[in-house]
Amino acid sequence: MNVEWYIVLSSLLFAVGAMGILLRRSPVVILLCLELMLNAGNLALVAFSKMVGNQQGQIFAIVVMVVAACEVVVGLGLIVAIFRRKLPLDVDELRELRG
């Protein structure tokens, strides 16, 4: 299998994730879509690592996983905090940024 295929797949997954973030309003689903994008990046990293024949790309992938785990923890913490304060779980309702 050519490595190109993996890379095209990774950019496709990235685009799908980005689309999800733009379309969905539930913060949980938005986090899920972020995961999609991060994993797409990981796939590209591992594919490049295979292409170059260097394991360091996989280290990057592992670090990305760690960062993703951190992001999940903080994101879910935020969701729980929003829920506790009886605020709506819908990003369109949180409009304090309106100028």
Partner: protein, 669 residues
């Protein structure tokens, strides 16, 4: 284990000690904190000995090892490793630093016992030792700067240790600012080195330098002068010396460790470490030597009239470092380092003895009020006498051999360097006089009331401590030691520390006696083998001739002090009246503080005031209100886009990203 593994352990223990004490300050009892701190430094010392044994087992030419654990900063063309460099010079410094630090930790274990900030103190102290070791062991200029700055911070933290004492916090800031000036010099020097040689690693820099630079080329001279700025600021040489006497506001063990034995000698170490560069820039080396000589004389003359016990010893420290700077600058490298070692012993000892006496005086530091402690505190006075004899270069003591070796080298080099010999001996005369001025004022005679109280009751004089500079009452709640301060007589750890140092002060000179043995020179020679100056050796006969002159001068100085302060105690006052202008000048420390104030601080303030009043009102305010209008209008326009929907912001982000990607794709094809 290899030498570098030992060296890494040397670094590890103080760091662990510092962190453990700092994190465990609630859980650890005070004694445990002190014990951990002392043990950490003691272990570091043992590891230093391990490295020494390892080095001695190798051929002299092979005694240098570089080792790196990780990349510290590795970016395009710049490869800095977290690396150390182990060679006789760094091991020598490691042994001095850890050895003296162990003893001073031991001393502090007793001395600081009644202090509220006991944990803080030991944590800082261990951190200082770690930083100093990092400075000494660093394998490249970047890590050197890291250690250099850490040491500056540790010094600041410890000078301002009693942070409710206003004079102490001010002194800390002064020390920090002057040290940062030095740091800037060092950083600029490192930049220049990188620009010219493309590397920061010691071994590569020193190997490449002779091929790249011509002798006295302006770049190498500039590098050396910038290095000297760093060295002078850290080592309190003219004109960066004013912070050192003020640094005596800190606790006495700090004065002893940082501001006498170890940190202030970092500049000497730096010059010795970079001697390969100074060989290429003889002009810079001569400047360094002359500054050292000037500091030596100026500081010694000020020490003659200081009435504050600790400050007088501080000026003597500056003066002795002047000798070392002269030594390593004119090429007497191992002699300079040898003096650094003996000085660490006797100066630390003198400070400890002074601390003990100051404690007995309830924190009074004025020697005019002290007398008769010879009877009241036997152990302290004997050790103080040992330290004083070594400082005054009494024949046979450690200071006698080390100081004369520098001067003998200067005369062997000949030419204009004879100036250093002559004026160096003059400085030695002043040294002997001021040292024994202190000793004769403090130890013999009729006991002062505090000493009498100690003799009668066996208790230390209790008084509520007042700050002599401002007259305000000390706040004992945040750690000023308060009334139940310990004196050396009563605490075993302190006695052990002072005893060991007294032994070192008296006999450490015997490792290097001209014509008999030369352990220090033999050990350090491989480091300095590349310098042509290291080949100059004074003959044994010349050395002994110098030693004879030194002995005569030392005895003469002690005799003059005896005549002035014991036999005819009224003469100093008469002299003071006769030469009142000179005395005022000396007493005001040659007006260095005032000169710096006039030349640097005032103009800076004036510029600041001008900027504040005129420039800011006209230019800045105008600009600010103008921009405010522009952006306010723009903001109202942008407001229309701010819908508050996070997802439309995300969309904009992605539109921007897609546009950017499009731009790059188009521009690259």
């Amino acid at each position: 284990m290899s030498a570098t593994s030992w060296a890494w352990l040397v670094l590890l223990f103080p760091l662990l000690g510092s962190i453990a004490i700092a994190l465990g300050f609630k859980a650890l009892p005070a004694k445990a904190a002190g014990a951990i701190g002392t043990a950490a430094i003691g272990l570091a010392f043992l590891c230093g000995v391990g490295a020494l044994i390892h080095l001695l087992g190798e051929a002299p030419d092979a005694r240098h090892h570089a080792s790196s654990l990780w990349d510290y900063a590795s970016v395009a063309g710049l490869d800095i490793k977290l690396g150390i460099f182990v060679d006789p010079l760094s091991v020598f410094m490691v042994l001095i630093v850890t050895g003296v630090s162990t003893l001073i930790h031991l001393y502090s274990f007793g001395y600081m016992q009644s202090d509220e900030g006991y944990h803080r103190f030991f944590s800082y102290l261990n951190f200082f030792v770690f930083s100093m070791l990092l400075l000494v062991l660093a394998g490249n200029f970047v890590l050197l700067i890291v250690g250099w700055a850490f040491v500056g911070f540790a010094s600041y933290a410890l000078i301002s240790f009693w942070y409710r004492r206003q004079t102490a916090t001010k002194a800390g800031m002064k020390a920090f600012v002057i040290n940062v000036v030095g740091d800037i010099g060092l950083v600029l020097a490192a930049f220049l080195i990188f620009r010219e040689l493309g590397t920061f690693e010691y071994s590569e820099v020193f190997a490449k330098a002779p091929q790249v630079f011509h002798t006295n080329e302006w770049t190498v001279t500039a590098i050396c002068l910038l290095l000297l700025v760093g060295a002078f600021a850290k080592s309190a040489q003219l004109p960066f010396h004013t912070w050192l006497p003020d640094a005596m506001e800190g606790p006495t063990p700090v004065s002893s460790l940082i501001h006498a034995a170890t940190m202030v000698t970092a500049g000497v170490y730096l010059i010795a470490r970079t001697h390969s560069l100074f060989v290429l820039a003889p002009t810079a080396a001569d400047i360094a030597a002359f500054v050292g000589l000037a500091t030596l004389l100026v500081a010694a003359s000020i020490a003659l009239v200081m009435t504050d016990l600790k400050r007088a010893i501080a000026y003597s420290t500056m003066s002795q470092i002047g000798y070392m700077v002269v030594g390593v600058s004119i090429g007497a490298y191992s002699a300079g380092m040898f003096h650094l070692m003996t000085h660490a012993f006797f100066k630390a000892l003198l400070f400890m003895a002074a601390g003990s006496i100051i404690a007995a005086m309830a924190n009074e530091q004025n020697i005019d009020k002290m007398s008769g402690f010879g009877k009241a505190m036997r152990f302290t006075s004997v050790t103080m006498l040992c330290g004083g004899l070594a400082l005054a270069a009494f024949p046979g003591t450690s200071g006698f051999f080390s100081k004369d070796e520098i001067l003998a080298y200067a005369s062997a080099r000949g030419g204009m360097y004879l100036i250093f010999t002559v004026l160096g001996y003059f400085g030695a005369l002043l040294t002997a006089i001021y040292t024994f001025r202190l000793i004769f004022r403090v130890l013999p005679g009729k006991p002062c009331p505090e000493a009498q109280e100690l003799i009668d009751t066996g208790h230390v004089h209790h008084a509520h401590p007042f700050n002599p500079a401002t007259g305000e009452e000390e706040d004992t709640a945040v750690g000023f030691p308060g009334a139940e301060h310990h004196i050396a007589e009563s605490s075993l750890p302190m006695r052990i520390a002072m005893g060991v140092l007294a032994f070192g002060a008296l006999f450490a000179g015997l490792v290097q006696v001209p014509g008999v043995d030369d352990m220090v020179t033999k050990f350090l020679d491989p480091v300095f083998a590349d310098s042509p100056l290291a080949a100059i050796h004074p003959s044994v006969a010349a050395s002994w001739f110098g030693l004879a002159i030194g002995a005569a001068i030392s005895l003469a100085g002690i005799g003059i002090a005896y005549f002035l302060y014991v036999a005819r105690p009224e003469t100093p006052a008469a002299l003071q009246k006769r030469f009142s202008a000179l005395h005022t000048c000396l007493y005001n420390k040659w007006y260095f503080d005032e000169a710096i104030d006039f030349l640097v601080v005032r103009p800076a303030l004036a510029i600041g005031r001008f900027a504040n009043r005129t420039f800011e009102r006209l230019v800045v305010d105008g600009l600010v209100t103008g921009t405010e209008d522009v952006f306010g209008g723009g903001g109202r326009l942008v407001q229309l886009v701010q819908s508050g929907f996070v997802r439309s912001y995300a969309l904009l982000l992605i539109v921007g990203f897609a546009g950017l990607a499009l731009y790059f794709l188009l521009s690259s094809s």
